[in-house]
Structure formats: C-alpha cells, structure tokens
C-alpha cells in the first residue's frame, strides 16, 4: 500500500489498532505549560460498552491520553480554570489538535538513545554463578534493556526523523555497532508528520532538510485541513509510504478498512502544502550549514569565539534537547531494584543480593566543565570559550569531516530553549560571513 488517507476522527482507532501489534509512541504530554515533553507510549482508550455511557469525562485515568497531556492555558486570567475544564471534556479528537504543535521539547532520539540506559548488570558476591563457590563476579543483562515488542512512532517531525540518519552514522557504524541503538532502530517504524506551518525557530532547509523531508521516515503523513464549508470534519491524514516497512504498515491499516486511497485532489493539496511550507520557511533562514566546515577549519583561534561564548551560561539545555547530540558518559550505579526492595529484583526476577551494580550510559554534554576534565586535573577545555567552540565545530566541521553530514537538522530546539537566547542561526550566519570576508583564510594562513 503506497498511500492511505484516514480521517482525523479515526486517528485514535488507527493508533489503537496498531497498539495490538506494536508499541505505539506519540508526542507526549507536556510536563508543564510549554508543550509536549517527548514521546510516550500510546494507551488506547477503553471503548464504552454498547448501550452504556462512555467513561466519565472527569475520570482522569481514562482521559489522561487526550486531556492532561496538553497542558492548556492556565494563567490567572478569567479564562484560566474554566479553559482547563473545557479541555477535560474533550474526547479523542484532541490528539490531532495536539499533533499540530511543531515539536516536542525532548527530541525523538530519546526513544533510541535514552537519557539513561543500563547496559550491563553485575554482581560481586558470588551470586548468579560467579566462581561457582559463592564467590566471584557474575555479569548479566539488566531486565528490559533491549526492546521486545516492535514499535511505531506516530507524529515525528521530519527534522527529528532526519536526526536518526545522523545518529546512525555514529551508533550503527560498521566498525563500532551499538547493539542497543541498532536493536531499537531495527524494530521501530516511524510515521512522520510534515510541517504545514513551520515555527519561527525552524531552519531545516539550511541543514539539507525539508518541512516534508522523508529522511529517516517509513511513512510521511500530510495533515490535510478540513475543506472550506466542511465544519464537521477535522480533515484528514494522508499517509505515504517511504520504505517497505511503511508500505506494510499502511497495508495492515488498509486491511482493517481504516482508510481509503488518496484522490488526485488530495495529491494536489499535498503539493500545495509543501510549496507553502517551503516558501514560509525560506524567509529568515541562516546561511547554509553544509559548507560551513570550510570556514570553521580556519578560525579555531579567531577572536569571534571570545565574544560568542560570553553570554552562554554553560547549561546543557541545547545539547540535551538536540536531536543529534549523542555524547554520553558511562557511570556505575547501584542496582535500583536491589537498593529499593532490599534485595529483590524489580519484576519477579530471581532473588538478587544487595551487592549488585548497573553500568549506565547517560547523556553527557560538552557544555559541562567535567566533560573533558582529566584525572590529572588538567582540563583541555577550561572555559566557556573552548566549550562553545567545540559544540559549533563538532556540529558543522568535525562531524561532516568524519561522517559526511552536518550534525544539525535545524529543528530549532536550542534556539527556543536556550535560557539566554544564544541563537545558533546567528552563529551560523556570523561564521559564514567570516568566510565571506576572507577572515578565515587570513587566520589560517
């Protein structure tokens, strides 16, 4: 099945049907006013039995999926609490509305490269084998590390999907394959949602992306608005398969009679959306990042870095929320299962003695001083100058040199969430301008 059109009203049924075969992830609830935080497991809403009224609209356990997740206007104005109640009366049709927000706060990478991920469990007091005489160390895989059920992500933006093709170059590299990442990539089908109206922070075309780009996607969905005069409809999603896995997914939905093939006018509507989005995003783009490496190679010692870093606070909001940042640190932690339950393993596993530990891989950030701190106490990147420079160099110079792609997809999260508005788009344009003025050549000469 190459393309399938579903009504937005049917989205929940579609997701519920997919949940029978896959773990389905959707853009997730906002942790606070400010938008969705990341991607989360879709929990199908129980269908009311025939002849019985549906679940109470105030039953938060049922409505969690469609209501609480979209933290709504709750300012102190008179619309405040009232507005919230109103939202709590909303059934399924809330999700399509929610998907129209441009981006989640946390990027898609979290589903493949989590914030913290146990990669090894060990026991040092002879349990689980050890030396066989009650002493020695045994090593095991912590429970639930590798995903079992295959997954579908619905509603990822093209920039987030494109970020996976960047991460693939690191974690799915032939020389150093990362089993954890690869196993998640292999068992996940990604349904993207094209961006009808890009946000003011979006700049994907400057990184080689597109509001309707298909890199990293298995299916690309178009959000087709309701036609004029069709007030009862919320419009449709037109899903186009990009890969064979995507085709199979659409075939599965088609067999359940959950949609229909697109008409010619639908195709025209898609093209119109693409054109309009490209036109909208073209205004205010920074310089193209794909040739930035040429300039960056010559300005390592340029005074620009000294002024650039000055306002940077040195937090990791930009790197942690970046869909392509992939640096990590490995730490040894006590096994939380063991420490909390006094020796019992978390979920019905074997009795586990206390002397167990977990090796955990955590996100790390080049913005932290400790990131490069040597055991000797020497730090090759002692100040913000070196650290901010590293972030820019890595994204636009070192990564392209090593892997043949810029490590930025133009999602704009770092632009939006930087506490001091250190805007990477400005940095890109400044650097491009340095190249244009020949400063780069003179510095490197």
């Amino acid at each position: 099945m190459a393309a399938l059109k579903i009504t937005k009203m049917a989205l929940n049924s579609v997701l519920a049907l997919m949940s029978e075969r896959w773990d389905v992830f959707v853009p997730s609830p906002s942790p606070a006013p400010g938008g969705p935080s990341g991607f989360r497991l879709f929990e199908p809403r129980p269908m009311p039995a025939p002849g019985k009224p549906g679940p109470s609209e105030r039953d938060s356990s049922v409505n969690r999926q469609t209501c609480d997740e979209d933290t709504l206007w709750n300012g102190t104005g008179q619309g405040g609490q009232k507005g919230r109640d109103r939202e709590n009366h909303l059934p399924e049709e809330r999700l399509p509305q929610f998907l129209r927000r441009v981006l989640t706060v946390k990027p898609l990478k979290e589903l493949f490269f989590p914030r913290s991920e146990p990669i090894l469990g060990y026991c040092v007091d002879g349990a689980f084998g050890g030396n066989g005489d009650g002493t020695g160390v045994s090593v095991f895989m912590p429970e639930g590390v590798l995903p079992g059920k295959p997954r579908v992500v619905f509603g990822a933006r093209p920039c987030d999907a494109a970020s996976l093709t960047v991460l693939d170059r690191v974690f799915a590299d032939e020389a150093y394959p990362d089993d954890f990442y690869i196993s998640r990539r292999k068992n996940t089908i990604i349904v993207g949602l094209g961006c009808n109206v890009p946000a003011p922070t979006c700049f994907c075309p400057a990184t080689g992306g597109d509001p309707f780009g298909t890199a990293g996607l298995d299916v690309l969905a178009y959000d087709l608005p309701a036609l004029d005069g069709d007030g009862s409809s919320q419009g449709h999603y037109l899903m186009k398969a990009v890969t064979r896995e995507g085709e199979a997914l659409l075939g599965f939905l088609s067999e359940a009679h959950l949609g229909e093939g697109p008409s010619e006018s639908d195709e025209r509507a898609c093209m119109a959306l693409e054109e309009r989005a490209r036109k909208a995003i073209a205004a205010g783009l920074p310089a193209d990042t794909q040739s930035l490496g040429r300039v960056l190679g010559g300005i390592f010692n340029h005074p620009y870095w000294a002024t650039l870093h000055e306002k940077c606070l040195g937090c990791a909001a930009c790197t942690y929320l970046c869909p392509t940042c992939h640096c990590f640190d490995i730490s040894e932690e006590p096994d939380p299962g063991a420490s909390r339950s006094g020796g019992e393993s978390p979920k019905g596993g074997p009795e586990r003695p206390r002397l167990t530990g977990v090796r955990v891989r955590n996100w790390d950030s080049c913005m932290f001083p400790i990131f490069t701190l040597h055991t000797s106490g020497h730090n090759p990147r002692p100040t913000g100058l070196e650290r901010v420079r590293q972030r820019v160099m890595h994204k636009f110079y070192y990564f392209p040199e090593n892997f043949g792609a810029v490590a930025c997809v133009g999602c704009g999260r770092c632009v939006k969430y930087c506490p001091v508005n250190l805007d990477i788009r400005e940095v890109i344009s400044h650097i491009a301008a340095l190249g244009g003025t020949g400063v780069a050549e003179s510095i490197s000469a």
């Binding site: 300012g75 608005p225 306002k311 939380p336 250190l422």
Partner: protein, 386 residues
C-alpha cells in the same frame, strides 16, 4: 518587536551607558539587548560606546545578569540591574565574591518579567511571529509614544483566540483576562495558526508574568549608583536609594503547600523533579550557584549518581535548595531557565519563608555583615533542627 520605537527608559539607558564607556568609568556594561525571537531578550556585554546602542530594558529581560559578574575579568563592571539583580550583586559583596568598588549598578525599576513557558502554554499550536508590550490608556486607545496597531489589538480581543474552524477548541478558548483597564500594560501577540491563518491577541500583563514577580518585594534596585526611571529620568543613587523591601513578603503559596500532608508533599515533589533531565540550566542561571565545582560534578569520590535515577535528581534539587537557604532572592531565573518546566520556585520559597518567619531575614538587602547561615545567636529558634 523591531518596529517598536525604544522606550524613554531604553533611550536614557543607551545614552547613559555610552557615556560611562566613553568616559572610561567602566570597562563593560552588562545589560540586555533585543533577542532573535518575539518577546525575547539576550544578555549584551557593551565594551565601547557604540555597543551601548544595543541595550534595552523591558519586561522581556528575564535573566538575572548578576550571574555574569564572577566570570568577568573586566576591572570595572556596570550592571543593568532589576531589583532582584541588584540584590544578588549585594549578596556577592556580602559573600566576598566581588568588591563593591568594582561594580557600578545601573538600577532600573522593573514591572516584572515574562515567563516564556506561560506564553507557550497560551500559544498551543499557534506560532508567534510578533509580540510587544502596549500601554493601554482607556478603551481601545493606544498610549502615547507607541507605534500603531495597538488599538486594533485591544478592539479585537474577543476574537483573540477566535480563529474558527479546524483549530477547534484552541480557537474557541476564551482569551484570558480580556477586560481593558485604564493605564494597563498588555502583551500584544500576532502570528499564524497551524493552518497558516493569521491571529492576534492581547493579554493582560499579569497573564504572562513570571510567578516570582508576582510576589516580588523589591521592584527597584537596592544600592544603585544611578537609577533610571520608567520615563527615562535618571536619579543619582547614594546607596540609600531604596533600602528594605517595598512590602512585607507574603507566602500564601507556601502556606497552601504546608497544609498538605507529608505524603502529599513528597508525592508532589517527586512528580515535579520527575520532569528534570539534569541539564543544570537552573544551576547555571542562578547567581548563587557560583561554586567552583558543584557537588554533583565531584568525581573523586562521586557524591551522587549521573543517571536519571529519581533519587539522585531529588538529592540534586534538595541540596541545591538548601545551599541557597538564606541566599536566594527569589528572582525566578532558575524557573525561567528550565526547559522542562520544573517548578523549583516553591522549594526555594519555603526556605525563604523559614528565613523570614524564624529570623526575619530576607536576602540581598545588605552588603555588609554576615550571611544568615554564617551567624549564630544562642536564642535562635531551633525548631527546624531534626
């Protein structure tokens, strides 16, 4: 925002700072400039008179600029300081982190600053392309000296969220606080919705105001060398300009939480920190977090784990809060910096309340003496000692 002509305050600020730099009285002015997004500012470091033309001051100036003082190598530093910024400058002097002679405090009276997360919550799936503050003087009228379009903004309030159609509920949502009061400041917002249709709205100033600003006890500077008023007038400071809080601190928000059971409070705290991704934006935005090495970064031995384990995250937030007890000036910079919407304010406010109720102490008003936790009196209340 670019279309807006600079306010009287901003004009005076630029002239004054250009003068300071020109005369060589300071080496750098740390202030705010216009950011790259609507309703956003960005820190500016002006080192020559021309740089001063980038300075602004308005309710988008959300950072606590004193945070840069310990990092700067310049000999004489001028800081554009709101009440809370100035209070941390005092605290730095009190804590011997800098010398008073090194600082030149350009005080500005602050009406409170924006909380961008509240703006985002309001916007929902709408995109913001333009935003500015407008002074409304009576029904549908625009204040003097403000660029046009204001009247339309207020007149169309009822239709503020009123983009009808597939936008559905968000469109039908009533605009909050739509009443127009005399002499009121409003946020004028413009943009397009998820289908590209334009919308405009006008919100009450308080609707997007940072929570900490709502309980602010000192909008003006404490110990300023000069104060620039709302109408652009300059008043020489003499160190006595505005001592002491402007009003008794109120802790109604804390009292509400204190009324809950210990289990409920623990649950609420866990739920709050569960959002945390440990990016440390709160710590980095906080002027009080100037430790050369934060305890969470201690690696030999490690103090807390590096994973997203909830225990470690709670330890981080609890220890940071305790380390700020008697020092936090409630500027709210940590809350505004947090990308994940963790409300750290309440924890900090509880400690402020204890400082106030037990010791009648409120941080940032003194440059001399000892910090609250550097003093001991035999008759100090000790109920809080476990």
């Amino acid at each position: 925002m670019s279309a807006q002509s600079p306010s009287a305050l901003t004009k005076t600020l630029r002239e004054f700072c250009a003068g300071l730099l020109d005369e060589g009285r300071v080496d750098v002015v740390v202030g705010f400039g216009r950011g790259t997004l609507p309703l956003r500012s960005t820190p500016v470091f002006a080192r020559n008179p021309d740089d001063a033309s980038r300075l602004i001051f308005d309710a988008t100036c959300e950072n606590n600029l004193s945070v840069f003082v310990p990092k700067l190598k310049d000999k004489r530093i001028a800081v554009v300081a709101k009440g809370c910024d100035s209070r941390w400058l005092n605290q730095y002097i009190l804590e011997r982190q800098t010398e008073g002679e090194r600082l030149y405090v350009i005080g500005v009276r602050c009406q409170g600053v924006i909380d961008r997360k509240k703006l985002d919550a309001y916007l929902g799936s709408r995109r913001l392309l333009e935003g500015r503050l407008e002074e409304i003087r009576g029904q549908g009228e625009c204040g003097e000296g403000l660029e046009g379009e204001g009247a339309g903004g207020t007149g169309g309030v009822e239709g503020a969220g009123g983009v009808k159609g597939a936008e559905g509920v968000e469109g039908a949502r009533p605009g909050p606080g739509v009443s127009v009061s005399d002499g009121h400041i409003k946020w004028h917002l413009e943009g397009n919705d998820a289908e590209g249709r334009p919308w405009a709205a006008s919100l009450d100033f308080e609707d997007l105001l940072s929570d900490s600003c709502k309980v602010c006890v000192k909008k003006g500077p404490v110990y300023a060398d000069v104060v620039i008023g709302e109408n652009g007038e300059t008043v020489k400071g003499n160190g006595e300009t505005a001592k002491g809080p402007e009003r008794e601190p109120s802790f109604d928000d804390v009292k509400e939480v204190e009324g809950a059971s210990i289990e409920e409070r623990w649950k609420a705290f866990r739920s709050e920190v569960s959002k945390c991704i440990r990016c440390y934006a709160c710590r980095q935005a906080c002027p009080g977090c100037y430790c050369k090495e934060c305890f969470v970064d201690r690696s030999a031995p490690r103090w807390i784990g590096g994973s997203d384990d909830e225990t470690d995250t709670m330890v981080f937030h609890l220890m940071r809060a305790m380390h700020l007890a008697g020092r936090c000036v409630d500027c709210g910079a940590c809350v505004r910096a947090c990308p994940m919407g963790v409300d750290l304010g309440l924890l900090n406010r509880k400690l402020q309340k204890d400082g106030w109720v037990l010791f009648h102490h409120i941080a940032g008003f003194e440059r001399e003496g000892k910090p609250l936790f550097g003093t001991f009196l035999p008759d100090d209340p000790n109920d809080f000692i476990l």
